[in-house]
């Protein structure tokens, strides 16, 4: 290889050893999506070959030298129907197949473990229910469905894990969800795929897939002491939510025990399911979400609680399974004052949130 410049040689060598062509399949859905992907590649190749064969074949057969006089043909209904119906049929197959995958990816199973993700310029903050906090990293176990509840605290971001073939937009002001079940331990790319400003390309991280045992060890070694629900409980008390939501007979607000996933009738007569998105809206924009039978007296908490704080509150409310738990909150003495400035600052989180785990 003397005649190749050393720079070029090094470069070629780097290519040959460090050259990706297809992403790893590390989730249960990945092989299913790849099956459709390769079906589409196959159909495209057949279609392209057909078009190229027609063009090249006709160009050779009917070039002016070989075929000096054109024969005028109006068209052919049968032929045209053929190339309308066959592509339509193939496209419809892809539509149905794609829709099945889509519903699977965006419909989390009931037993999924929920992890919260907050996007902000330019980092991903991940909150495990056990109180583990991560930045630009996500640790998940194999063999267990994991649901991500995603929100952005500023602009659009998009949470993408190519090795799992899943992606979901992080939207300011509303929760989105996606789920996956990791299959192969390893470290995979995590990208922000929605352009979000200057350091968009730095908003990347690692998804670490671990065996259930390793994951449990990781959870134990990374916990900040308090679970997300405990953080939420503290916030619940410090924001004086329990002044009204206190389960007493004369309470001004409805009891929150078992409210999660229940059907609520609003003062507008509308019935809705109290999911995470509803709970979040009810905290930040209460006047739009009055439960039937209660006066619209709840003040908005917009700007007073950070997205992480809301997540902690939501997680707390989700875990409230009896009036007794609410009453216990009333007795919580270890209160952390919410910052007075009204701006969502670090203090809005429970103190444990500051002990974030770096990957």
């Amino acid at each position: 290889m003397d005649h190749i410049s050393p720079v070029l040689w090094q470069f070629l060598q780097k290519w040959l050893t460090h050259f990706a062509l297809f992403p790893p399949e590390a989730s249960k859905i990945a092989p299913q999506m790849d099956a459709l992907y390769f079906f589409m590649v196959l159909v495209s190749l057949v279609g392209l070959t057909l078009v190229v064969l027609l063009i090249v074949g006709f160009s050779i057969l009917y070039s002016k030298t070989r075929h000096p006089h054109a024969v005028q043909i109006e068209g052919s209904t049968i032929l045209e129907a053929t190339w309308t119906i066959i592509p339509l049929g193939l496209f419809l197959i892809m539509f149905v197949w794609g829709a099945l995958l889509y519903f699977r990816i965006y419909t989390p199973p009931a037993n999924a473990m929920n992890i919260y993700v907050v996007g902000k310029q330019w980092m991903w903050k991940v909150e495990h229910p056990g109180g583990q906090h991560e930045i630009n990293a996500l640790h998940v176990p194999t063999g267990r469905p994991v649901q991500l509840t995603i929100i952005s605290q500023d602009v659009f971001h998009s949470f993408s894990i190519p090795a799992f073939r899943v992606k979901r937009e992080a939207i300011p002001g509303r929760y989105t969800t996606v789920w996956f079940e990791a299959t192969t331990p390893g470290t995979y790319h995590l990208f922000c795929t929605q352009y979000c400003g200057t350091n968009h390309s730095q908003m990347i991280g690692d998804v670490v897939v671990m065996n259930p045992d390793d994951f449990r060890k990781w959870l134990d070694s990374s916990t900040s002491g308090d679970s997300l629900a405990q953080d939420g409980e503290r916030l619940f008390a410090s924001l004086s939510c329990n002044a009204c939501h206190n389960t007493r007979p004369d309470a001004r607000g409805p009891s929150l025990a078992n409210v999660y996933n229940s059907r609520l009738t609003l003062s507008t007569g509308e019935t809705i399911t109290a999911d995470e998105a509803y709970l979040r809206q009810a905290i930040l924009n209460p006047s739009q979400h009055i439960t039937q039978g209660y006066a619209p007296i709840m003040p908005t908490y917009q700007g007073q609680v950070s997205e992480e704080g809301v997540i902690a509150l939501v997680e707390y409310i989700k875990n409230l399974d009896s009036d007794y738990r609410v009453q216990q909150t009333l007795n919580t003495t270890d209160l952390v004052p919410e910052s007075a400035g009204g701006k969502p600052v670090a203090g809005a989180k429970a103190p444990a949130a500051e002990k974030e785990v770096k990957p």
Partner: protein, 555 residues
């Protein structure tokens, strides 16, 4: 490649460019700046969009250079963001949207329908001035420091979080939008009202049909974009809460409004290009377009369905799963007319008498690349695969196959095809065939690797990327260099041909369109007298009889 050609040029020793034509009728800068002649306005457009193509292309070169290495080595991330934003804004709004309609369409549509001009010549001139004002505003934006919203202006990023020149760019696109609304309006009125006697709807060349469909999209779609951008500007300046959740707005609403225009916009861009391909494929295979009515109606079908697929840009954005289902189905339906067109063009070749001049080579390039671009669109239209592929380089590759591989190929095909009519002179054939092939090869090298990058998950709009993506990016940048040569060549030899090209005569391609039955370059009035049309479009037998008659009467 066979040596046979259909080019029939007049005897070069005696042939002259007609003394009286639209180029020589009046002289002086003012006669151009105040002209109402559609051919002169088309010429003004051609010069201005070529300039902006050059600017946008140079920015693309910078993007590819930066992506040669995984780190941000050539420029900082925010500079890179400005470069790709300006590339997108210029290429979409100042090149692709006006490219075929405002230049080639402006030039040939009145002649094709047998009219002396467009219905509203002053509006036509106004439309060019609006385009130029928009162009200056974009240049001003670049000089003042640029804008880094991406061409999609996603709110709340554009309305709240960036301090670059969003307002001047937004207003520039607002103004450019009116330029395109006026062009569309003019075409619709002209095609309805100014057809020559005997020129029925089904005798119109397919180029007119496809531009008519595109005009409807322009007139109905562009106002929505204009309103959206005004709202973005208002939200930035006076903080009305429409899109930004911090002011009580809904960012998803922005996505709906933006894509309600911007998806039909891709059909605004591609439909006129499809019209060019119909003309070229028919002329160089000496045959009526296979299934004329199917091709004509497929243009209209694309225009109609094109309005009901916008939410396929939002499958991962938390729209309802059932909405995604409906929009995915409609997207599959809109893919069908494009497939029909491809096969109809391919079968136009069947039993033809084919020659391989430059416009035909570009048209073949279009058919191959558009097939790939269209099929990969189905990957993205299917909801499941869209989740993995959207917002990655797969998207970038897909729309460059459609817009550059499709539309730009069609534009170059059309420019070469009508160049003799426009200037009265032929371009040099051999070197232009070479340019067409170089463009095709360079294009594939540039954009094909990006499909693989996208499948790997490389996100778009990244100034830096993980090192294992470098090999494919190097391929892509190398291809862009070849592509650059492919685009520079026509600029050089077409300029050369203005003075040294062979005199073309009225109808060098033996084409049937009415524009070919008049002198080249045409008179300002297009025709000495308004033609009476007694034959179908692409009636090559009529043309032969016509020529026999002429020989007989001269002899």
């Amino acid at each position: 490649m066979s040596a046979a050609t259909i080019v029939s040029l007049p005897d070069q020793s005696t042939a002259r460019i007609p003394k009286m034509n639209f180029l020589t009728k009046e002289n002086g800068l003012l006669s151009w700046l105040l002209t109402g002649d559609h051919k002169r306005i088309a010429t003004l457009y051609l010069i201005s969009i070529s300039f902006f193509f050059f600017v946008g292309g140079s920015l693309a070169g910078l993007i590819r250079l930066e992506l040669l290495t995984p780190q941000t080595s050539l420029m900082a991330a925010d500079t890179y963001n400005k470069v790709f934003t300006m590339h997108g804004v210029i290429m979409v709004f100042l090149f692709l949207v006006p490219s075929v309609p405002a230049t080639i369409g402006n030039f040939v549509i009145p002649m094709m329908v047998g009219a002396r001009d467009l219905a509203l010549p002053k509006i036509n001139l106004l439309s060019w001035y609006l385009y130029i004002i928009a162009g200056f505003m974009v240049i001003y934006t670049m000089a003042a420091g640029g804008v880094d919203t991406g061409w999609t202006f996603t709110s709340p990023l554009s309305t709240h979080y960036l301090n670059t020149h969003v307002i001047s760019t937004g207003l520039a696109i607002f103004v450019a939008g009116f330029s395109s609304i006026f062009t569309g309006l003019n075409f619709i009125v002209t095609i309805h009202k100014m057809r020559a006697p005997g020129m029925t709807w089904f005798r119109l060349p397919l180029f007119v049909w496809s531009n008519y469909a595109a005009s409807i999209l322009m007139v109905l779609g562009t106002p929505v974009l204009a309103i959206t951008l005004v709202l973005v500007v208002l939200e930035r300046t006076v903080h009305i809460g429409v899109f930004d959740p911090a002011y009580g707005g809904d960012p998803i609403l922005f996505q709906h409004l933006f894509w309600f225009y911007s998806h039909p916009a891709v059909y605004i861009m591609i439909l006129p290009g499809m019209g060019v391909i119909s003309e070229v494929v028919s002329t160089f295979s000496r045959k009526r377009v296979f299934g004329y009515t199917a091709v004509a109606f497929s243009s209209v079908a694309i225009a109609v369905f094109g309005f009901f697929v916008w939410a396929h840009h939002m499958f991962i954005m938390g729209i309802s799963n059932y909405a995604a289902l409906v929009f995915s189905l409609l997207t599959m339906l809109v893919a069908v007319p494009s497939a029909i067109k491809i096969f109809n063009w391919a079968f136009t070749l069947y039993k033809g008498s084919i020659t391989f001049e430059t416009p035909m080579l570009y048209a073949f390039g279009f058919m191959g690349l558009f097939t790939i671009g269209g099929m990969t669109g189905v990957f993205l239209g299917a909801t499941g695969t869209d989740i993995h592929l959207t917002e990655t380089y797969f998207i970038v590759a897909h729309f460059h196959f459609v817009m550059v591989g499709g539309m730009l190929m069609a534009f170059l095909s059309g420019i070469h095809f009508w160049w003799p009519k426009w200037t009265g002179r032929m371009y040099p054939e051999k070197i232009s065939q070479l340019a067409a092939i170089v463009t095709f090869i360079g294009f594939n090298f540039t954009f094909f690797p990006q499909f693989i990058l996208g499948t790997l998950g490389m996100p778009r709009r990244y100034a830096a990327y993980p090192p294992e993506f470098q090999a494919l990016n190097v391929f892509s940048t190398a291809g862009a260099t070849i592509l650059g040569v492919g685009y520079l060549l026509p600029i050089l030899y077409l300029t050369w041909s203005l003075r040294y090209g062979a005199v073309a005569g009225n109808n060098p391609w033996q084409a049937t369109g009415l524009e070919w039955q008049t002198q080249s370059p045409p008179l300002t009035e297009n025709f000495p007298e308004i033609p009476i049309v007694d034959h179908e479009a692409y009636d090559y037998e009529w043309l032969e009889r016509q020529q026999e008659k002429e020989v007989a009467s001269v002899g």
